[in-house]
């Protein structure tokens, strides 16, 4: 057999396992979903929120595990509460969004940690939650992320202009008649759902990077909003797919390999800089 064939077989081998196929689907969709949702997050200067929310939701898992209620529902409610609290604090503007995120989500995380240390955890393995683990991916996770992705697409498709207007210029959007409060709230719901549905493969500690890096790379490559959305989704999906394969072959957690793959995109985009923008044909003028 030629070396190429051996490599190909080696590459295809893990696809024989159902857990890996599930993992690949979840990782690819997770990357795309985080890339798209992350674009809105980054453009609102709320890059830090992914990091904060994932920690808050980790706390929610602990509490839900203790109370014996459905983990997704418990963690989801917890994360959503944190997200909406942050949104409300930011809107009333006593402090900036980074500070609001810092206060609310670390408190929610700490509360979870205290609960776990006092009562022990009935929830899923903490390591897997922190760093992502393909072995933890179940069929339910696959359906969950498919569902969240469909909801995300529907929301962005139906509310595209309102979302764009609110993200770019909330004050004028509101004056023009856009229900910016509703749009903000729905975006926070979507963000929470994204974090929860991708936590298994990306891990609490690395979700933030999946939300931020593809969006930032896409922003470096284009000055057009719709192109940025699409590019961020594609970069995220490729990172998820490549990173999940790397995770299997290198036998390390999936979160880091996915994030490192998207970091490679960042380095390439950064190093190539303006020439790359020109080649893609969307740059106008210098900066």
């Amino acid at each position: 057999m030629s070396g190429g064939a051996v490599l190909a077989i080696d590459f295809l081998k893990p696809f024989e396992f159902e857990f890996f196929r599930n993992g690949i689907i979840v990782a690819t969709l997770a990357g795309a979903l985080c890339g798209v949702v992350g674009s809105y997050v980054v453009l609102r200067n709320m890059s830090y929120i992914g990091h904060g929310l994932s920690h808050a939701i980790f706390g929610g898992y602990a509490v839900a595990g203790l109370l014996g209620i459905n983990l997704f529902l418990g963690a989801g409610a917890w994360g959503l509460l944190a997200a909406l609290t942050i949104g409300a604090i930011v809107r009333s503007r006593p402090i900036g969004s980074d500070a609001a995120i810092g206060v609310v989500t670390t408190a929610a995380f700490a509360f979870g940690l205290v609960i776990v240390q006092i009562y022990g955890s009935n929830g899923p393995n903490a390591d897997a939650l922190l760093f992502g683990n393909v072995l933890g991916v179940t069929l339910a996770d696959v359906w969950l992320i498919i569902g969240v992705s469909i909801c995300a697409l529907a929301f962005i498709f139906l509310g595209y202009r309102q979302l764009l207007f609110t993200t770019f210029d909330a004050e004028v959007a509101k004056a023009t008649g856009v229900n910016t409060g509703l749009i903000d709230g729905l975006l926070m719901v979507l963000l929470s759902a994204t974090v929860i549905s991708t936590m298994n493969v990306l891990g609490v500690t690395l979700i933030a990077a999946s939300l931020v890096v593809p969006a930032v790379v896409a922003r470096m490559l284009t000055d057009s909003f719709p192109r940025m959305l699409i590019l961020a989704g594609v970069i995220g999906a490729v990172s998820g797919f490549v990173g999940m394969n790397a995770s299997y072959h290198l036998d390390v957690a999936s979160g880091p390999t996915i994030v490192l793959t998207s970091a490679v995109f960042f380095i390439v985009a950064f190093a190539a800089g303006v020439p790359l923008r020109r080649r893609i044909g969307v740059a106008h003028g210098a900066h």
């Binding site: 962005i156 764009l164 207007f165 770019f168 210029d169 004050e171 023009t176 008649g177 057009s224």
Partner: protein
Amino acid sequence: MNEVFIQATNLTVTYGSEPVLVEVDLEVAEGDLLGIVGPSGSGKSTLLKALLGSVAPLSGQVERRAGLTVGLVPQVEHIDWSFPVTVAECVGMARARGWRTPWITRSERAEICEITERLGLGGLEGRHIRDLSGGQQQRVFLARALFTDAKVIFLDEPTSGLDVRTRHEVLHLLGELNEQGLTIVLTTHDLNGIAAHLPRIVCLNTTVIGEGSPNEVLIPDVLERTYGSPMRVLEHGGMRVVVDSPLFLLDEKSA
């Protein structure tokens, strides 16, 4: 008598405990071209926001004619210039209410091109908003407000940071739009270049100090109460020219 579009009565607005507007009465009627002048921090932007309804008053009320659409051109300092939108995308987002396709439809594109053409932005539709001159940037946001099909447009300092010629262009354009039936309310710091050319001016400093035509309002007494420092008004070729205090003081000394 033209139809009243927006009516503010006894409007008081505070941020926290700080009163920013106190008992302001103001009427915007169809076909108005109204300028709001006043020193920095006098509440001009806040008054626009209150009239739009994006800031809730502490007391008093703002009545808008039912179904009235109002467009707002924000102060350029409030715009995120690194946001990834092209001119066409920026204008297109304005039609956001109700169900709209994510993409700009063919008929909308034609409308956008008509507006950009009219505002002298033809051919720039694919440009990023940062890669434009100050006057062009100002007009992009005017185009966005026009694309909402607004009956009334508010402009917050539409000529700040523009050179004399571009300022005249913007003023001329606004005059033209007004003649075609658009109701316009703007704020400005430029008494001679802008305010003196408008049919109606409101002098604002927390409350309305004076209201009327430039001849009625651009007088030393009203200006001094508005700006809190003495000003001299000269007649020059039938136009009023406001000279602010440093020059005034110099004059006094040499006299």
